[in-house]
């Protein structure tokens, strides 16, 4: 039963959805503070290449090296995000152009390729990678086993992150402050919330999450390094945040739905079923447009929660 096509698709949806989930959680934090970061793809690739570099070069047992590599990936993503944060928050540059610049700078034909090439990373598979972990010995349960209990540590950790981010934004004081900063920075400033600090911290946290998302590729899904490894996952993550109405719990649902769409054609092909893969691959994008239309129409706007000042720089003197 656990080999049935439905179970295989569900299990790979979770695996393929995980990098999207990390990146989307990060983008969610940045967007909630009012920063639209279009550099996700670039930050993911930098995280992927640096995490991979760490796994290849840091000595020690797998149990030590892999967490270190994830830490390196997160730091690399945050460092890339720092460039964007400085440009758009301190220097008030256009967020769209800055985000695209970050993706060009760091992306498949940029820094990530430069690092991968300079350290000859493309030649060998990863020394260690995150494999499936039989959680609580429940992997053989029907259906739930492979889908829920037979995943890697990265998947289990992502669930904790969803709970943490969701709780943080909805139930804590700083979380409330972030939402205020994203909604109306002038009002937040008047309340004594440090707008600049909040935006910096959440953009950096977003970069760290994106870096981990990138490392999901180079350390788990396809444990190797090739240029442009993430293949557009960063853009899907941006779509996912909208699709999830800027909520962490819905990011999880959306990530697995989108993960299923990208995994389905391969799984079906392996079973000898030929379908048009483009049809499935296009669905996440089309659904995001539909959601965006709903959000922007009168009914959706109030209830669905797009941050009010998303993409707008805040300048105290000019409010």
């Amino acid at each position: 039963m656990n080999n049935s096509i439905v179970v295989v698709v569900l299990a790979s949806a979770v695996a393929y959805g995980t990098p999207l989930l990390y990146a989307a959680l990060g983008e969610l934090l940045a967007e909630r503070s009012g920063v639209l970061n279009l550099g996700v793809e670039g930050m993911m690739l930098v995280g992927a290449v640096m995490g991979f570099l760490a796994v290849q070069r840091v000595g020690g047992p797998a149990g030590l090296v892999l967490p270190v590599a994830i830490g390196v990936a997160a730091l690399a993503g945050a460092a890339a995000a720092l460039i964007l944060a400085f440009l758009v928050i301190t220097l008030r540059a256009n967020q769209i152009v800055s985000g695209l610049a970050l993706t060009i700078f760091a992306g498949a034909a940029g820094l990530s390729s430069y690092i991968g090439n300079d350290f000859n990373l493309a030649d060998n598979p990863a020394r260690y990678s995150f494999g499936p972990v039989n959680l609580f010995g429940l992997q053989d349960l029907p259906v739930l086993g492979p889908v829920v209990f037979g995943q890697s540590w990265l998947v289990y950790a992502s669930w904790l992150c969803v709970v943490a981010v969701g709780f943080y934004l909805a139930r804590t004081r700083p979380g409330l402050n972030v939402r205020a900063v994203g909604e109306s920075p002038a009002a937040a400033d008047a309340m004594g919330i440090a707008v600049t600090k909040y935006r910096y911290l959440h953009t950096l946290a977003g970069g760290a999450f994106a870096g981990v998302g990138g490392a999901c590729f180079s350390l788990a899904l396809t444990p190797q390094w090739v240029d442009g490894l993430t293949a557009g996952a960063g853009w899907i993550a941006i779509a996912l945040v909208i699709f999830a109405f800027w909520r962490a719990d819905l990011c999880l649902v959306g990530a697995y739905v989108f993960g299923a769409f990208s995994a389905l054609p391969f799984t079906l092909q392996a079973r000898g079923v030929t379908i048009t893969p483009q049809l499935f691959q296009a669905l996440p994008y089309v659904m995001t447009i539909v959601v965006l239309v709903l959000v922007s129409s009168g009914i959706g706007k109030r209830r669905l929660g797009a941050p009010g000042s998303l993409g707008i720089p805040y300048v105290r003197e000019e409010r």
Partner: protein, 375 residues
């Protein structure tokens, strides 16, 4: 406790020399940063710069290759500039260019046997029409449902890429080479010879037909914004939608029109790719080139001025051409993207100096508004 604080305040008058000085300064800063990166990773910076410059502009045939790389960037740059001028952030030039290429390749195959001028006109028209149609989608959504065009145009790029893949890799479409080799190695059907756009030679440099076409498009855009009522109103709508509404301007149809114009220009870029350069619907090559996204960078560096767009496209085209020519084991791969990114970071950061004045205010107390102390 006294802390020196940076004060940033808006310039009341824009200084002329800053409009030139700041971009030049930004370029210098960017190159210093790149040199540091190169030196840190064991590549001699000056030699690398010289090799790049040589491969871009000086070597035999370098200028012709640079023009080929610059032509699509000029089109996508103009597409971005014309929309961004109105604060319509169309980042869908990528997909609009794909559709332009699909349209142009389609009519070129359809009109096989006709004379070259007929085919060229048809290719440009079909490219413009399909690009405009693809650009109209985010335009209509923005105009009538107030849907943010940034994300919709971005998403449509991926849909367009999938359409391209479908036509070449997963179907037996009209565009695909269905001969025996084409069945094994999927690729586009070769366009007829008459669909090759003419090349003119100026001095010893071969100029692809698309490049003067891009210059003509730049002139049209300049006239539109500087000399017509339509362009003026579009700019007012971009700067202050409320003022435009009070003045009775027709906002919706201008949004759709500008998005169509933007998409159409990107579409002609796709047609030029077919006629000038690729001569078949090259799904993978078009996607790897990232012309649409680089075009936005070109437009931003040119501050959305159409003539500057052509110039910047020529410079960045040279960089891309050089990176492609020099690609080898000992030349750092990814350097072109790093350089483009750093130049853009420096330019974006430098923009602040054009519009704002920065001074160090001493004696301001932390937490106290420094502006009031200094009056």
């Amino acid at each position: 406790m006294t802390v020196p604080r940076l004060r940033i305040e808006k310039r009341l008058r824009q200084r002329r020399w800053l409009m030139v000085g700041v971009p030049l300064g930004s370029l210098v800063v960017a190159h210093i940063a790149i040199a540091i990166l190169l030196a840190a990773t064991g590549h001699p910076p000056l030699t690398t710069f010289r090799r790049l410059f040589d491969a871009a502009y000086l070597a035999d045939g370098a200028l012709a290759s640079t023009l080929i790389a610059a032509t699509p960037l000029a089109f996508t740059g103009l597409a971005a500039a014309v929309a961004f001028r109105m604060r319509l952030f169309n980042i869908g030039a990528e997909g609009q260019l794909y559709f332009g290429a699909i349209g142009a390749a389609g009519v070129a195959l359809l009109l096989a046997g006709r004379s070259t001028p007929v085919i060229i006109v048809a290719m440009v028209a079909a490219g413009a029409a399909l690009g405009a149609a693809w650009g109209a989608i985010p335009g209509l959504l923005r105009a009538f449902l107030r849907t943010n065009e940034i994300i919709t145009s971005l998403m449509l790029n991926y849909v367009a890429a999938l359409v391209l893949n479908y036509l070449i890799f997963d179907s037996l479409s009209y565009w695909r080479d269905t001969s025996a080799t084409g069945q094994v190695f999927p690729q586009g059907k070769m366009l007829p010879d008459a669909a090759s756009w003419p090349v003119s030679t100026i001095g010893s440099v071969a100029v692809p037909f698309g490049f003067p076409l891009a210059i003509a498009a730049a002139v049209v855009i300049w006239v539109l914004y500087a000399r017509t009522r339509f362009g003026f109103e579009a700019q007012v709508i971009g700067d202050s939608p409320r003022a435009a509404r009070y003045a009775g301007m027709r906002t919706r149809r201008k949004i759709v029109a500008i998005m169509c114009l933007s998409g159409g220009i990107a579409g002609i870029g796709g047609a030029s790719q077919m006629g000038d350069f690729r001569h078949l619907l090259d799904a993978r090559g078009l996607q790897q080139a990232n012309y649409g996204y680089t075009g936005i960078v070109v437009a931003a560096l040119a501050r959305y001025n159409p003539f500057a767009v052509v110039l910047v496209a020529f410079l960045l085209g040279g960089l891309q051409n050089a990176g492609f020519t020099l690609q080898s084991a000992e030349f750092p791969s990814g350097l072109v993207g790093v350089m483009q990114g750093m130049i853009l970071f420096a330019m974006l950061g430098g923009e602040l100096l054009v519009h704002y004045r920065i001074s160090v205010a001493r004696g301001g107390r932390r937490g106290q508004p420094a502006a009031e102390v200094a009056g």
